[in-house]
Amino acid sequence: MSIHSVTLLIEAMLLKSKSLEEIGRFKDAALECKTIIDIVESAWPHGIPEGIGDDSKLKEMFHKALELFPKLWMQAGFLEEAIAAYRRALMKPWDLGFSRWASLQKDLAVALLYGGAELSLPPHLQQLWGYAVPTSNIEEAILLLLILMRKVTFQEISWDPEIMNHLIYGFSLTGQFEVLAGHVEQILPGIYDRVERWYVLALCYHAAGLDDDALNVVRKALSYSEKKHKPHLPSVILGAKLCCKRPLHAWEGAKYAMKANEISQNQKHFLGVTNHLLGVCYGNCARLSVSDSQRLKLQNESLKTLQHAANIEKNDSEVVYSLARESTMQRNLHIALENATKYLDMVAGSSVRGWKLLALIVSAEQNLREAEAIVDLAMYESGAMDQLEFLRLKALLQVAQEQPKNAIETYKNLLAMVKAWKELQKWSLSSEVKAVKDLEMEAWLDLASLYTKLGSWNDSYVCLDKAKTFELFSPKCWHSKGKLLEAQSKQQEALIALLVSLSIEPDYVPSMVSMAAILRTRGGKSLATARSLLMNALRLEPTNHEAWMNLGFISKAEGSLHQAADCFQAAYELRQSTPVQNFV
């Protein structure tokens, strides 16, 4: 048969298929299309040959059939056949035009992402292409969307916002936000609003854990150059949230939160959120402030704002948690306990940090046995990873209750569980691996200080060495070493170890306090040095009872008995409300 007659035949079949579609017989229409495609594919198994020109009617009909075929299967409700049809159209070089090709790729990506059925590629392709074959629908969809994005970048097809949105959705499910950020950056300028582009970028970086980068991007969006536009509320809120996590940026965070609060006065929707952020930022600022009066004022503001947020958002459990946490840090234990129990009730015990906070508050009330009972209950309600942390807390509580044997036993259990976890885990998230590593190091350091108190120097050295293998330049390790040397009365070496600790982290309060403790025993000129160290420590941590006690001793040695009495009183009161573990 000549090409002309074949073309006429195919045109007839295509018309028949279209008419069947019109009257709603989608399956039959699809089968008609299938015949067309089968015919052409058997004639040209390796794709359309070079010779066929662009104006060939046969090619035009064939392309129309290729386009129509999967749509008919979709309308008939056969997802599997539709996806197979799309794949068939895309895997051989049929010389489709750019826009048709892109449209088919996009439709396949949509069908794979949202179809809800996992349909893998035929096995012979796996053998042919090896690792390059997508093994799941979402992989295949992302591959297609990335190809489409590249075409947009090279301007082979025009910009289609749906592609980017599908890509963002796909990447959100896989959690690979750094890669996504890269693709957002590659979008040509002029397509997205500046502010919107920066907002999406900041969200990607924040989701990837790169909070510093996210904050930098947010700063651009809120900078002076954007002043003539209306401020973008979600960006401001994101900025405030990023600063909340970083105590050093507390003032910046407070600025953003106040701005957000201003803007959202007209939009009740966000009012609770902005007040919540403002409260947390005020708390951070209080801890950074140098003057006492400012600190007190900010602490009050913080609690007031958080309470206001809790009143607006009656159902938001996170506000209640923040309120409990802030109250604990301000040693307002009554309110803290109330809110912590309320929080655990609201989430029905499903929050690990809620349990931890409750245990710490109860321990701060010096109710150590009850705190241990809470930790036991929490361990019962959690999975393997969280149990490790609770075990450590339990051991600390046992140490505080002067039960060294039990504590050592608990530490042994903890380290055995860590070892078992490391052996059994084939796959772990890097964040989990880091958390377990940190926990192990802390456990060894705790054991070291326990043995130091008990007087077993050798055991203490062994534990310290184990801890050092995790991280040599850790101020905590050097601090523990300093304490060990001090207990052995090697004061000079202890001072050196503590100096090393302070040189790694100049604001490490425990080292400052320990150093001051050693220096004050020397008397004379060292008293002044000790006093300055302690004042520095108290500036950073006003609730450190050891610092107050040492300050009391110094004042007594210098002769100011009233001051000494005040310091001792402060030390005593603070000790009565200190939780067994410091907050991070």
């Binding site: 025009s158 959690g175 690979q176 609003d193 969200l203 499903s350 999975g383």
Partner: protein, 368 residues
Amino acid sequence: MSADPVAPAESSAFWQSVQRAQAAVQSLSLILGSLPDAVASSENPAAALLNDEAVARQVSIRLRRPGSGAGDDNLCRWLYDTFQSNDPDLQLVVLTFTPTIAGVYLSRAISREPLAGFEAVLLALYAYETVIRGGDPETVILPNLANPSVYHEAKAPPKKGAMELNIAVVSPALEPYGTVRSTKRARIVGVALELYYSKISSMPLSSKLAFCEFCMVWAGQDIGTENDGKEEGGEKTAAVGADENGGKDEGEVKAKAASVDKNGGKEAGEVKAGRIPLPWELFQPIVMIVGHCLLGPANPEELRTTAYSVVEGLHWRATHDMNPQEILATRSLLRLGKMGDDTIAEPQISTSSDDYSEEALKMKARLT
């Protein structure tokens, strides 16, 4: 369904499964009372059960009753036994009720009622997934465009030697659990929902609509805030106990939850009180299922509109919790749902006044 004649060797397995299905139908009729004839005397009882609206509605009513889900609940026992029968068709039937079970369970978990029945069913689903995955997480290898694939050619020749594969974890490895621990509740229900999603193309419409409705309750959008914060109805979330379940019974609250009703006030109070914590382990399968409902090909219009309002609710919740992963996912779904089949460019949801961008280019694209 293929219509090929069944070989004699297979027919015994086929008949066994039909017998199992008939036994299941019989025991269900003992619990629910009489079943419609279409199910009771069908040749393929499992498929009939799957598609029968009346039975589904009856089971759903029973599951939502106050006091359901306790350790001695017969219906939960039936669901558990049917799932453990390892018959794929019967397992599908149990899966259709997953949204209702998960919904009622999560809403009631706060009230400290005994919910051993629900927990048993959810744990059965979780255990099934754990066995199938065999301790490995669900991973995805992100494609690298530098390497050629079945869909494109690479510009540069592929590099030989060790390939750096960018492996992303979609769902972390599962630990086996014998009981529901409260900190792991979200994970267990999340995995049950992931199992539901994997079979979602076989799920009937009623099941998907029930899921959408529960999502609205979980997100807890204050519909009343539109009307000047009249939400001080004195509702306490800690007491989402007995009273609430009475309100959750058939009809009213659900219908109002499903449609974005701007009545505010009392209705908003009832809807709001069902809000639950939504960590990513729960949010991710929810988003996947809602994405399917919204944008899945060949979905009925009713499902799409319901899914769209659910996405709005979830986006509200995500911006509230300020979780970037959730915001990105729901934001893109929101835009995709709005775009739909529009030919006119729509304004963005949160923009500044500067407009020389997406709309302009869209217009230009349509003209070329």
